[in-house]
């Protein structure tokens, strides 16, 4: 597969490490969340057959974490964003 890195352009997916669903960006706060909420965050997945937003890490590249929107049926990649930008847009900060 080829991932079109927002900064570096097309790169072989082999340079990346895959983590999983981009919902992992939305980590609850451990001091206020319930165990059940944290369980849902850590363990439950939509696992769609179709467009899937997912986290890839450019380990053998520039070390950026990316959010890749990819069709899990065709493997077509629809969008690639820097995960840091996505995280900020989702309200994450410090």
């Amino acid at each position: 597969m080829i991932i079109h890195h927002p900064i570096l352009g097309p790169r072989d997916a082999q340079e990346f490490v895959y983590l999983g669903d981009a919902s992992l960006i939305g980590r609850p706060d451990g001091l206020t969340a319930s165990i059940e909420e944290f369980h849902n965050y850590t363990y439950l997945r939509d696992n769609p057959a179709g467009a899937h937003r997912e986290l890839w890490y450019h380990e053998q590249g520039d070390r950026s974490w990316l959010v890749v929107t990819r069709n899990t049926v065709t493997h077509e990649i629809l969008q690639v964003e820097l995960a840091r930008d996505v995280a900020r847009a989702e309200g994450r900060s410090k």
Binding site: I2, L24, S64
Partner: protein
């Protein structure tokens, strides 16, 4: 017998003669020959045996679709089983032998299977060999397994090397026949980066096998000229002997280049083959079409082949397969073979044309509405039986029969993404489905355009479309005038009969097998394939699949497209495993990581151990030591008595800076680091989000906004990845910068009562306990050289870790040993390191097993619940906080001379060794020379409450059962007085 079947013409170089051997007999051929063409030229039709019935087999094709003529090529360690004689390029000195036969190709004992064919039907195995029950594994299966397989491996290491590589292009063109050459010319002339790959050693495809003219040139001459022009273009890479084997995601193709297979052996330093990963913007498949047979009884004899192949042998290789040749066809292309052969002076005894009516070929016995219904000849065709339109049957003497059932476009690669081909009635064949593989187009015969003119036109058009989509401009092309015959075919798949008619000749799948599958309701295409093994042979059913499908369609009364399609999987043709393995073999399987003291340790005769990619000193034997334990015990005792040195560079080191560095560490560690004083270190415990311990290590605060984190050797990479995740994704606004410094520093542990004395001789600053207390950290100098010092201990002794820039690491170990001579300093390896950490009760890899919590390790209090950190909350789940859960304990044998084994399980005294009595296990075990007996760490249920309990460590694998006592995991200096000395 010297090339008795060679006739005039062909693209072989008769000025040179090549000698070769098949089954020990000598033959000759010429450059340009394949093994098959040369054998046929020498009158050899019998080249193999089928898989199940061991029926005699000769080639049915002249290309990579060949299912029959498989041989063991070369000998000794280079022996290469299942090699298609039809594509094996002849070279001087070639040797080959037939396979899957015993004792000889002509007299094969297992041909007896053919006599029992009424038992060995499709699905036979599933119904039988069950009685008595024990016989399957003891009797039946061993017999079946002995008969398995086709060719053999020698079990010797492959002596050749293989390369891998990466290519980039705008347009990849797969196949250099008329369509491919046309596309390449258009694309190449435009200036685009083009790769043209062809599996053949001679580009031109069918143009080399036909007598067509292109413009005023012979087809092969036109191809030569086209190749010549392409070779002159710097933006075009021509890759003959290169098979594109698979289409992968996003325009990546895999290709195998046979660099040296046409040589006796590869030149020095050169690979046998190279596996290329080709990155493309666009690809055009111009892979041509493959002819398919018509099934009839006993249609599998040597001498019976595809009509177009018979023609190719005559036109390209100057070989007449037989001196009495017949043709059996359902389409006009079969007639072309008859005419070409006749023009070459070959005696064409009959053309059996299943189509009724229509014009007759001049000067040839052309039987319309006729069928071949049987054949004869034990090791090769001697006659065919023909049923004429009027029902009369006739035996015709013939030693070659060309069969044409029509042509199947080579859709293979287009279905590598699992898209299904589409049926076209007008050519009675499947053509590629569209759009499934992005940016791949198909032209020429592969797309179902079966004329030469059509190939040139569609090849050009595909290239134009590709160029345009890339924003490039195509120059006007002038295509030569070429043959443009329409496809005239009346589909006819098999001749009805009571006996076996072969569909898949290698696996011996016959029309009867398909009928049986239908009868037993294995009618879906996938069931048909799996039940009969149709299409599972080494050719993936390139000639047989559509035929089998058509037979099933006939049985079910459905149309062929309604019956289904089968799809092909990568690779297009089989690929040597060596090629896909590349250089990564033997010692080069993975790179080495060498420690800064490696050169010194090598000089000292160290024994090394693989730790991930690292090689570390495991122990360092002294003269006279014959057992490893002697060395390890000495290293431990010397360290505890005086001082020992260990290279600990392999531990991961991560430089963490930024104004939020402390807050960041509080998030990623279970314990607190923001409160750590500058110039101090602290042991840190890192959890995964699921609350299990991820890693541990010592992290030092080198400045207000600067920390150095240490990870375990094993987790250096994964911890760094995790920290980047936390930094970029979870807390993107934290001011934190990360970089690995693992390799930048050569780091040595100096441990033992005399550690300070030794180090004080080396470092430039005062490192007295007052100046550099326990858990201190700081920048110092060593002979003026910048260095770092950490007062930390894994061994339980007074200990430091000192780091210098890596290039000085070799000098540093020598310096430390020199300075330590007066204290009898030793270097200790990973074994002694393990002994001392277990004596001290520190957890390491065997305890950090990914399923252990801080609580399990006796470190539960380290998980701060006053702050949010990774894994804090989920570590509090009920199943992970049980009071009676596993706890880390120390173990010692009650009898001090008793041996123990890591991995032994804990059982109460008197308990039966069953799972319900399993109380835990020994994680790590060493012999403690300090204590004079084995000691161990282990996880024990409710372990914290069981200190002092006597129980057993049982190792059922070795049959041992040893009485043990559960003790504190801290075997030495539990109060830590030595550390703080």
């Amino acid at each position: 017998m010297s090339q008795s079947n060679r006739i005039a013409g062909g693209l072989i170089d008769r000025s040179q003669t090549l000698r070769f051997q098949f089954d020990g007999l000598p033959y000759t051929g010429h450059p340009g020959d394949t093994l098959a063409s040369a054998l046929l030229a020498n009158g050899v039709r019998l080249m193999g045996r089928s898989f199940k019935y061991h029926r005699p087999r000769g080639p049915i094709s002249a290309g990579s679709e060949e299912p029959n003529a498989l041989v063991e090529l070369r000998s000794g360690a280079r022996q290469e089983p299942n090699t298609r004689a039809t594509v094996a390029e002849l070279f001087d000195g070639l040797t080959a032998q037939s396979q899957n036969r015993w004792p000889s190709l002509k007299f094969d004992a297992l041909a007896i299977n053919d006599r029992f064919n009424s038992f060995l039907t499709a699905g036979f195995y599933y119904k039988t060999f069950m009685w008595p029950a024990s016989f399957w594994e003891k009797v039946y299966e061993p017999i079946i397994r002995r008969a398995a397989g086709l060719g053999s491996l020698t079990r010797l290491e492959d002596p050749d090397t293989y390369d891998k590589g990466f290519l980039h292009c705008d347009i990849l063109i797969i196949g250099a026949g008329p369509a491919g050459l046309s596309a390449a010319l258009t694309a190449g002339r435009s200036g685009a980066r083009v790769i043209l790959a062809d599996e053949d050693f001679r580009m031109g495809g069918r143009l080399n096998a036909e007598t067509f003219e292109l413009g005023d040139q012979a087809g092969a001459a036109w191809a030569d000229a086209a190749v010549g022009e392409l070779a002159s273009l710097p933006n075009v890479r021509l890759m003959a002997r290169t098979t594109v084997v698979g289409a992968f995601d996003h325009g990546i193709y895999g290709a195998v280049e046979r660099v040296s297979d046409h040589l006796l052996e590869p030149a020095a330093g050169k690979p046998r083959q190279t596996f290329w990963r080709i990155y493309t913007q666009r690809a055009i498949l111009t892979g041509g079409a493959t002819e398919r047979p018509i099934a009839f009884e006993n249609n599998d004899r040597p001498g019976i082949m595809l009509a177009g192949s018979l023609r190719a042998y005559a036109n390209r290789w100057g070989v007449a397969v037989g001196d009495r040749t017949a043709i059996f066809t359902n389409n006009d292309d079969g007639l072309r073979t008859a005419l070409d052969l006749q023009a070459k002076g070959v005696d064409v005894v009959a053309v059996i044309d299943s189509r009724e009516g229509g014009a007759l070929l001049p000067g040839i016995r052309h039987l319309r509405g006729a069928e071949v219904i049987d054949s004869a000849g034990r090791l090769g065709l001697s006659s065919i039986t023909v049923r004429q339109a009027n029902g009369a049957t006739e035996v015709i003497k013939a030693n070659a029969l060309g069969v044409s059932g029509g042509w199947n476009p080579n859709v293979n690669i287009t279905s590598h993404h699992r898209s299904r081909p589409i049926w076209r009635d007008d050519i009675a064949a499947f053509v590629p489905g569209t759009g499934e593989i992005a940016n791949l187009s198909v032209a020429g015969a592969a797309a179902g355009t079966l004329s030469t003119h059509g190939a040139l036109v569609t090849g050009d058009a595909s290239a134009r479309a590709a160029l345009e989509s890339l924003g490039l401009t195509a120059k006007a092309a002038s295509l030569p005038k070429a043959e443009d015959a329409p496809v005239r075919i009346t589909p006819m798949w098999y001749v009805k009969g009571a006996n076996r008619a072969w569909i898949d000749p290698q696996n011996d799948v016959t029309v009867k097998d398909i009928k049986l599958a239908h009868q037993e309701n294995f009618t879906s295409v996938e069931h048909l394939k799996r039940y009969t093994t149709l299409g599972m042979a080494t050719d993936q059913g390139k000639t047989g699949n559509v035929l089998g499908l058509a037979v099933m369609a006939g049985l079910t009364g459905k149309t062929i497209p309604d019956t289904g399609t089968t799809i092909y999987r990568p690779p297009y043709t089989p690929v040597a495993l060596g090629t896909l393995g590349g250089r990564g073999r033997g010692q080069e399987f993975k790179p080495f990581r060498l420690t800064p003291s490696h050169k010194w340790a090598l000089e000292q005769g160290a024994v090394f151990v693989e730790v991930g990619y690292w090689l570390r000193t495991q122990w360092l034997p002294k003269a006279g030591e014959t057992e490893w334990r002697q060395s390890v015990d000495r290293e431990v005792l010397a360290t505890r008595k005086s001082v020992g040195i260990c290279d600990v560079t392999t531990l991961g080191k991560i430089d963490i800076q930024g104004t939020d560095a402390g807050a960041f560490l509080d998030k990623v560690y279970a314990n607190t680091f923001s409160s750590l004083g500058v110039g101090k270190c602290r042991y840190g415990l890192m959890l995964r989000e699921d609350g299990m311990v991820f890693d541990d290590g010592t992290t030092a605060r080198m400045g207000q906004n600067e920390y150095v984190m240490t990870t375990t050797t094993a987790n250096a990479v994964t911890v760094f990845r995790h920290l980047e995740f936390c930094r970029q994704v979870l807390w993107p606004d934290m001011d934190v910068q990360l970089i690995s410094t693992t390799e930048a520093w050569a780091q040595f542990s100096v441990a033992g009562p005399n550690a300070r004395k030794l180090l004080q001789k080396v470092v430039d600053q005062d490192i007295s306990d007052a100046a550099f207390p326990y858990m201190g950290a700081g920048n110092i100098t060593v002979g003026g050289l910048r260095a770092r010092l950490f007062r930390i201990s894994f061994s339980g002794e007074l200990a430091y870790e000192i780091a210098v820039p890596t290039r000085y690491g070799d000098a540093m170990i020598r310096k430390l040993m020199e300075a330590g001579a007066e204290y009898d300093a030793v270097v200790y390896g990973t074994e002694a390191l393990g002994v001392m950490r277990i004596e001290k009760g520190h957890v390491a890899g065997n305890e950090l097993n990914g399923t252990s919590t801080a609580l399990n390790m006796g470190l539960g209090k380290m998980v701060s619940r006053k702050k949010d950190s990774i894994g804090m909350l989920l570590s509090q789940r009920e199943g992970m906080t049980r009071d009676d859960g596993l706890r880390l304990v120390g173990v010692k044998p009650v009898n001090p001379t008793a041996e123990l084994k890591a991995g032994s399980h804990f059982l109460k005294t008197g308990a039966v060794a069953r799972a319900e009595n399993d109380d835990g296990w020994i994680t790590s075990l060493v012999y403690s020379p300090h204590l004079g007996h084995y000691i161990a760490l282990g996880y024990l249920k409710n372990g914290a409450q069981r200190i002092g309990e006597k129980m057993r460590a049982v190792n059922l694998l070795a049959g041992t059962d040893t009485e043990i006592e559960i003790v504190s995991p801290h075997f030495i200096d539990p109060e830590g007085e030595r550390l703080r000395a």
